[in-house]
């Protein structure tokens, strides 16, 4: 029998083959499991936020018939009129059987205290309404809102609910007449903070975030890019630039609260800038994002191929022309991506703002860079710590809005990269 001569090396290879493929399969499995786990966590996060927050985009209104009694508007200044009394009168005329003092209080409780401001605005815009009877939808109290959204269980014993049996009966009567409705919660997007959950909105915090980030962007992008270009293209390579480089890398890892302390010491105590304002917040966040932007910009400058630099120099471009005409345009998409990621980072930051007083209760919508303001993540933090049950869904809703902003910023980063990336 002629056995073909076998190669001992091949035998060894074949024997090992199985083990090698097994190792590869194991590794792939690990990777896939990791990705799956990450996706699961992400899904759980989104699900828990959305499921507890989506109701906040709806708000309960109660329809009342208000008689703008001319007797109340004797004063020249219409805003001083007793609007709460008008609402109370309207509720009393709807439920004339309620006479006891305690019961009346419970009845008036159904309407949000914010409703009187709604009437005030109505009269300011249209004084002709005085003496008229108007049918108006006003916002309900947060506990009514919670009840109608099912967050307060009406089967519980009376002492355990914030809405008592009488109030339940009145609400059922109103609902039977079609005088209760749930509509899109416009107030959530147009109002500032409030201690009444039904009057609280994120517009103030959004404006604050906008002003703060505008300061941060307009300072950190030019400074960061200029610093990166200087360090990468012009600075001599010596011990000093090495030290600077190490320090910038370290700064990127410094806990953000440290920047807050720095901002407090430098901008507020030394320069005397106003506390709790977007100027100071923006400056602090600038300090925080600068290292991120510098590092990203340097990396993208480094990735510009040397051949392009040689081509420019070889044709007689000066170093500045080489950088400005060729290197910078090629590095810009990477720089923008780094900047937007830095901005997204800044958008989600609360710790450094705590020190400069931006963690505060602010009702008025900030109108500029020196108005007291707060930012979105701070608003989330403040709401999450409020006792009222209705703030819980507001917290989740605000998180959703913040996430939408973050998604948008990242989408812009991707778009810019795709749009301006030059292939060769």
């Amino acid at each position: 029998m002629d056995q073909p001569a076998t190669n001992p090396a091949i035998d060894k290879v074949n024997r090992g083959l199985k083990r090698r493929y097994r190792a590869e399969r194991r590794f792939r499995l690990c990777g896939a499991t990791a990705v799956f786990a990450a996706l699961c966590f992400l899904f759980i996060l989104f699900f828990s936020i959305v499921s507890s927050g989506y109701k906040a985009f709806q708000k309960t209104f109660i329809q009342i018939d208000v008689f703008f009694d001319p007797a109340e508007f004797t004063n020249e200044n219409l805003a001083t009129a007793n609007f709460p009394a008008l609402i109370k009168a309207s509720m009393s005329s709807r439920f004339p059987e309620v006479t006891a003092r305690r019961d009346k209080k419970d009845l008036y409780y159904l309407i949000s205290p914010g409703a009187s401001f709604q009437l005030m605005k109505l009269i300011k815009n249209n004084p002709a309404l005085i003496g008229q009877k108007e049918r108006i939808w006003v916002s309900a109290n947060d506990d009514v809102d919670m009840l109608l959204k099912g967050n307060i269980d009406r089967t519980r014993p009376e002492s355990e609910r914030r809405i008592n049996d009488k109030q339940l009966a009145w609400l059922d009567t109103l609902a039977g007449e079609g005088k209760i409705k749930k509509t899109f919660n416009m107030a959530f997007f147009t109002l500032g903070d409030s201690r009444e959950p039904e009057q609280a909105g994120i517009w103030g915090a959004t404006c604050g975030s906008f002003y703060t980030l505008l300061i941060t962007l307009s300072l950190s992008f030019p400074i960061g890019v200029a610093a990166a270009v200087y360090l990468e293209e012009f600075a001599p390579k010596n011990r000093w630039t090495d030290i600077i480089e190490v320090n910038i890398n370290n700064l990127a890892a410094v806990p953000s609260i440290v920047y807050g302390l720095l901002g407090l010491a430098v901008f507020i105590n030394f320069f005397g800038m106003p506390r709790s304002t977007p100027v100071v917040g923006g400056l602090v966040l600038t300090l925080m994002t600068l290292p991120i932007i510098i590092i990203a910009s340097r990396a993208s400058l480094k990735s510009v191929p040397p051949s392009i630099r040689e081509a420019a120099l070889g044709i007689g471009a000066s170093k500045m022309q080489m950088v400005a005409h060729h290197v910078l345009p090629l590095a810009l998409p990477g720089m923008l991506t780094g900047t937007i990621i830095g901005m997204a980072h800044a958008l989600g930051e609360t710790a450094p703002l705590l020190m400069v007083g931006m963690v505060a209760f602010i009702v008025d919508i900030p109108q500029g860079f020196t108005d007291p303001a707060t930012v979105l993540p701070v608003q989330i933090y403040l709401w999450s710590d409020s006792p009222e049950r209705a703030f819980m869904e507001k917290t989740s809703a605000a998180i959703m809005v913040l996430l939408v902003f973050l998604f948008l910023m990242n989408a812009v980063a991707i778009f810019l990269r795709k749009r301006f990336e030059i292939k060769w």
């Binding site: 205290p113 030019p222 006792p387």
Partner: protein, 352 residues
Amino acid sequence: MKKGILLASALIAGMFAGSSAQAAGRDYISIVGSSTVYPFSTVVAEQFGKTTNFRTPKIESTGTGGGFKLFCSGVGVQYPDITNASRAIKQSEYDSCQSNGVKDIVEIKIGYDGIVFANSKKSAPLKLTRKDIFLALAKNVPDPKGGDKLVPNPYKTWKDIDPALPNEKIEVLGPPPTSGTRDAFVELTMETGAKSFPFIHDMEKKDKNMFKATTQTVREDGVYIEAGENDNLIVQKLEANPHAVGIFGFSFLDQNADMIQGSLIENESPTFENIASGKYPVSRPLFFYVKKAHVDVIPGIKEYLAEFTSDKAWGNEGYLADKGMIPMDKTESEHFAEQAKDLKPLTMKQDK
């Protein structure tokens, strides 16, 4: 690129123009201080901002100590006008105020806050005494075998302390040492509870430091869990763990009555009425302090005080009571309303 630089420089210029305008004056009230008073002062501020032509005050929740530090830094628009406090000003803080030129301080007491011990509705309500709480939470307790000596806390279950209590592991969620609520509950429950032991009671006179260490040190063997400043979190944790007891302000119990129940202390349950009448023993006064030098400089301070001290705000039927603040009785509130109106400065002897 050039446009970007232009825009940036314009912005910087605008910023400095803005901040110099700011330095000239501030047209809103700046309030700092206790996180316990924060939910009440914010309601007043909002009401004040919406019903008057003044801007809504800005309120930062910095904690009582942090509030005094900012408040006492000096006189001027960059310093706060009012600080909230969940305890009275300390001598050291008063002295620091004086040395920084903050001479006249008006103290206004606004009401009370009850500290409740609550657990989930899924288990039975607890009936505790302050002595029980001391024995459950102190690091060192009198030897259960008798004798006037302290041993490391041996109690594992509530039943170990008092046979009438349930046979369940002691597990308490409470605020961290930085919190004013913690200071108050240590002082109001543990200290009082400890004094029921005669030898500890005597210790107060003989060795003050020893007394403080004995009564104020909370055990660190995992029985007392520091749950952070967020009281909502504690409520949620209680809901998830029916055996645990939480410590927080009354307003959180008030808002979550369907999920948690307050433990009875000295046979009194933590209800609005009991705290207001003083029957419930664990309650503390709340204050705010006004810098008199600012009253005529910053617009609206007087009006804010008037709003806060009006009956519709802090009265028995006022909106602060709706938010869970326990009002003062009639004579007390009249006294402090008067004080707010006259801006009568606080007098404390100055340590020299």
